[in-house]
Amino acid sequence: MSEKLLEIKDLHASVGDKEIIKGLNLTINKGEVHAIMGPNGAGKSSLSYVLSGKDGYNVTSGSITFKGKDLLSLSTEERAQAGLFLSMQLPTEIPGVVASSFLKQSLNSIRKAHNEPELDTINFVKLMRAEAEKLNFPQEMLKRFVNVGFSGGEKKRFETLQIALLKPDFCILDEIDSGVDVDAIKTISEGINNLKNNKNAFLIITHHEQLLTQIVPDYVHILANGKIIKTGDKTLASKIEKSGYTEFPQEK
C-alpha cells in the first residue's frame, strides 16, 4: 500500500490579478517520481513557487496536504524544515555568503527544527566533503560565494549537493537540466537516482525527454493553462518529444 506524501486538490493560485493555477489536482506517493511537462507559460514554475510558499504567489482556493499536514499554513522555511525542497531553475546568486557556511546554516536550521543536535564545524565539514566528492563537486567551490561565478552546470550540481545533505522527503526539480551540458546532466541524474528511496519522492519539471531517460518517472503529467490535462507513463514524454503539445487539447 503506497503512502501519500503530497496531495493537491483543486488548487487555484494567482500572481497579482492573474490566475496562473486553475484547478490543479495531483497526488504523489512516497517512492514515486513524477514529471511535469508543458508549454512555456503553462504554470510549471509557478506551481513550484506556490508549493514552496514564495511571496506574491497567492492560493485563492483548494488545498495542499504534505505528510498529512496543511502545507499552506506553513511559512517557506517551515515547509523546508518539514522536508520540502525546491531546486530552482535559476538558483540565486548571493555574494558575500560563503557556500559552505550557507550549507551548514541550512542543515543545522533543519536539524534544529527536528530537535536534533546541530553539527559542529568539524563534523559538518566531514559530511559536506564526503557528499561533494560523490557528486564530483570541487571542494574549492565550497569556499566561494553561493552560486556566484558558478557555471550553469555547477549551479545545478550545487542544488543537488544540497539535496544530498538536507535529505528532503519531497524534491521539486525545476528544469535541473537547463543550462547544463550532457556530462553534467549525467552526474546530476546519477546523484538524484542514488538519493531516491521508498520514503521520498521527486517532481521533475522539464522540457526535454532526455532527462527522463536518466531519471525515469513513474508518471508524466502535461500541464497546460494552469491545470493537468493529461497523465501517462514515461512513453507520454517521448510522444511529446516527437509531436509537441499541439495534439493535446487545451481548454481556454
Binding site: 511571496d55 517557506t76 522555511e77 524544515q81 540565486t92 555574494p95 558575500g96 541550512s106
Partner: protein, 420 residues
Amino acid sequence: MTLPLIKSVDLFLNNKPSVFALRETAKKALQKTGFPTLKTETWKYTNITPILQSNFDINTEESSCGHDCCCHEREATSDFPFIEIRFCRGKLHVEEYNTPKGLSVTPLPLALYEDDYKRYLFNSFDLEKHPFAALNGIYLEQGICITVEKNTKITSPVLIKYNQNHCENLQTHLHNLIVMEKGSQLDLIEEIVSDDGFSHLTNIVNELYLKADARLNHYKIQKESSCAHHLSLNAVKTQTNSSYMQFYFSNGAKISRQETFINLEQQGAKAEIYSAYKVKKDCLSDITTNINHLIKETFSNQYAKAVLQEKSAATFQGKIHIAPYAVKTAGTQLHKALYLNNDAQLNCKPELEIYADDVKCSHGASCGEIDKEQLFYLNSRGINQEKAKQMLINAHLEEIFSFIPNEKIKNYFLSKNIFS
C-alpha cells in the same frame, strides 16, 4: 581664543624645545581655524557639537593599566604570530617587541626624546585643514613609530590594539608614524575596541610614508561603544610604484569619522580603500576620503559598503583630485548601501576635481533594501527570516573581505565577527 577640549596638562618633554614647538604649531593651527561647524564644507553632514560640549578629560595617569586588564589577552597564536603593540586607555604598554630583522618599533615618547622621526611629524597633511589632527598634535605624546627597512618583507602582521574600555569621559590622542623604506612590505592591523556604555573620544592620527616600490596593507577595525566618539585621520604619502591598500571595518559609534588623505606623488603610485561599515541606533558614521593624483600614471580605487539600521546616519564623502598634467591616471569610487529602516539617512557626496585630460574617473552610489530573491532562497533552505536577514546583511558587508589579499588575515577578521 579659548577652545573646547584643550586642557592644560603636563605632557612628557614639554621642556624640550623641539617637542614644545611641534605642539605649539598644532595649537596655533587650531586656534587659527577653530573647530569645524556644519557650515564647513567637509563637515556639513557631521555635527560634532556633542563632542565639543562633552568636555572630555585627558588621562594623566602615568602607567597604562593593572595586570588584570583585558588588554593582557593576546591575539597571536602559534599558527598566526602577530607582532602585538597594545595601548590601554591611551597609554602604551611598554614591553619588549620580538621584532624580526628589518622592522623597528619605537614608542613615540622615545622617538621625540631622541629627535628621531622629526621630519615625518605633521609632514603628510596640513594641520590647518584637519582640525582634529591639530588637536591630536597639541597632545602629541603617545603613539608608535614603525620603520620597515629597505627591501624587507615582514611576514608577520603588526597588530596595534587600542583598548578603550574604562575611558569614561576621556579624550585619547594617539599619533603613529609608519615609514616604509624602498621596496619594503608590511601588513598593519589596527583594532580599536570598547564595550557598550563607555563614552569617550578616540582620536588616532597615522602618518604613513611609502617610499618607492613599498607595499603597505593597512587594516583597521573600529568596534567601539555606541556612546563612543571616534575621529581619525590616515595621511598617506606615496612614491614611485608604491601601493597602499586600506581596509576599514567599522561597527559604528555615537559619532565616528574616518578620514583618509592620500597624496599620490610619484608615477605608478597606487592607493585602494575598501570600507565596510554598519551603523545602528542613532549613531552617525562618516567616511571621508581625499585622494590627490599629483602626477601622471597614478591609480586609486575606492569601494565602500554600508548597512544602515534604525535611526542611524551615514556619510560618504569621496574626493578625487587630478592635478593638471596628471594624465593617464585612473580614479574610481563606488558606494553601496543597504537600508533596513526608513528612518535611516545616507549622505553620499562624490567630488571629482579633474584638471587633466586623458584620465579615467568614475563614481557611483546605490542603495536598496534586502534582496527578496536572496531572502527566498535562504528561507527555502530552512533558514528562518531573522537569521536569513542577518546573513544577507553580513554578506553585504563581507563582500569587502574578498578583496583582502592575505588569506590568513581574511580568516582572522571573519573569525572576529566584526559586525555582530
